[in-house]
Symmetry: C2
Subunit: 372 residues, 2 copies
């Protein structure tokens, strides 16, 4: 499937230029990129089992014959080194490295297996291997126009899927059925699949921040928490959470909901370039603390979202990440009352030059989420 | 979700005993199991982000607080080392290793990252780390009764899902819609999801053994190849391929179909304990070669299936794997004619004490797959 947002200008080429610049700063002449998501980011290639060797005068995607045509289509300007059917990926890497003619190569120590590294070290014994973890991940924090468009698409797929599910929701449906129907619905609107396994948690089960959908029925409690997102064909993700109200709500829930919503709105309000992740977390968290629920908000406020569902920057009490235009983060405070239930509200926020833009639009107003 | 086939007797305990026996043979006192599927196999634990430390007098599942209750439920008789919220998994491994009191530890070099291995090596500098790749994978080749029941369930989920899709198939549906509907249908019958991304290939696209579903419509050609499987909640998989005939077939296809079916039946017929993978491959392949299509059958005949979709043993021209009772393999010859189409027929076969049992039952008879 061709990428729905084939990029002109050539975004992957721009990303590679930025990586080359970073490598030059570190005095590393070339890098072997083995993380599949980083390979996609730097090339536009949507397949797997392939490594990218990038350096001064070398840009080689090392792959196999299944992907020959796909690489031609998806990766203009990139040389492909297609290994023979009986040749291993590592053997092909050896060839590529010889072509690159350099004696130091950066690598991703956090994703390459010990076995692969050991094999490369043994067979390419003149090369000095230099850990370069986080280089590509740091570039990925700031999204370019193509990526922002992809995440907007992932938000749209998630929201249309959610609307379809809510329109058809009945009390007899189980958490698991809702989760499965939600994936099917998002695919109907073009998603490749879910961004992560959705959380559908009825009543007291909403007190578990990572509840897995089970056989609880929607009618078993007057509210259900849904945390979901879509993954586009190009691999970009969205991440939302809403409380779905299906019956008569205890007054306590209404109170908790207002506290979480106020905290979330204050967090979003604070987002602009130059602010640190810890500052945003503190602004939202202090509202929950003042309402007396500080101990019931046990996770961080938010995280970057892109090709991974959780990526830099972090919005947490210890995060020194500084916001920049083009970053996209979730803001998702929650209050969890064990045995009773929980509320979390989550949106995806784009940092703009002078503030931010909330990419998600499904309503979270208390009056508007009441059952009709 | 509790495992649907909670095992009495305690199968994971039996598997650990077998691994301890293998470790003793290799003179390795303990092993750190890091591969998520191997951890599941040896413990029954269905979560992730957890390592197993197993040795003489030590059986420690190193995990985090999300999984405390789940480990109690799923893993009777296993000690859990639950790390603190701010403690890394590797830090907890260090603690566990100290408890184990041994100076040599086996590890899985093919799945642990270089970074993790390096950290363990640096912080536990008195330990000698010994690569033990393939030990658990070799045990996993022979399925026990619980695993056979799980794969039967995965076959049933796949076949019921397929029947539902065929019953509702229309010419306007795209490959991608069929693939998505198939996953949704299998989940309706209890599957956790697909065993792998299904292949739905209309007409000429069936000539690509790894075709990805796209926007081609079922009505665009008189036949569609579907390669699919289900994954149970416990993680076991099935793997089938059928040709779906929707229109008037060219005589050439009928001929190719008969050749592939004869090759497949001969391959299945040859399956019994003691036979090597290469022998089965040769028996099936020679039928295709004699019919003049040898060069159009470019992949191996089959593979083991279980917690992974592709695992040992292999049925290929170079495989010395010897079949044993309890192994479950696919038999899937194919003939691919570029630009024209392809046929592949695939079933899952259990090796029994005196021969084999075909676990899959959806019809592949030429007369029975004609459109009604």
């Amino acid at each position: 499937m061709p990428s729905p947002t084939k990029s002109t200008p050539d975004r992957p080429a721009q990303r590679r230029q930025r990586l080359l610049h970073e490598l030059k700063q570190k005095n590393v002449p070339a890098m072997l990129v083995t993380d599949v998501v980083n390979v996609t980011y730097l090339t536009g290639f949507s397949g797997d089992s392939s490594y990218l060797l990038l350096g001064k005068g070398v840009c080689l995607l090392i792959s196999d014959a299944r992907y020959t045509v796909q690489i031609e289509e998806e990766c203009p300007g990139i040389d492909a080194l297609i290994r023979k059917p009986n040749e291993s990926l590592l053997k092909a890497v050896q060839q590529g490295v010889k072509q690159a003619k350099c004696n130091q190569i950066g690598f991703e120590a956090g994703t390459i297996t010990y076995q692969h590294w050991q094999h490369l070290e043994a067979t390419l014994d003149k090369i000095e291997w230099i850990p370069c973890d986080g280089l590509v991940e740091t570039l990925r924090q700031v999204k370019d126009a193509t990526e922002i468009a992809e995440i907007r698409l992932a938000v749209e797929q998630a929201e249309r899927g959610f609307a379809l599910i809510i329109a058809g929701l009945t009390g007899e449906m189980t958490e698991l059925q809702v989760a499965h129907d939600l994936e099917h619905a998002m695919r109907r609107f073009g998603a490749a699949g879910v961004a992560f396994d959705p959380i559908v948690a009825v009543g007291a089960r909403a007190a578990l921040p990572h509840a897995r959908p089970q056989s609880q029925c929607i009618a078993d409690a007057p509210f259900t928490l849904i945390d979901w997102g879509a993954r586009t064909v190009s691999g970009y993700r969205s991440d939302l959470t809403r409380l779905v109200i299906t019956g008569k709500i205890p007054p306590k829930l209404a109170k908790v909901y207002r506290v979480v919503l106020n905290a979330q709105l204050a967090g979003i309000e604070a987002i602009r370039p130059g602010v640190r992740g810890a500052d945003i977390d503190r602004i939202a968290r202090s509202i929950i603390e003042k309402a007396g629920f500080g101990r019931q908000f046990g996770h961080s406020l938010g995280h970057g979202v892109g090709l991974h569902i959780h990526e830099a920057p972090r919005l947490s009490s210890t995060s020194n990440d500084e916001l920049e235009p083009g970053m996209i983060v979730t803001v998702e405070p929650g209050i969890y009352l064990p045995g009773w239930g929980g509320v979390r509200i989550e949106d995806d926020i784009l940092v703009t030059r002078d503030g931010c833009e909330v990419l998600t639009s499904v309503t979270k107003e208390w009056d508007e989420i009441q059952p009709k």
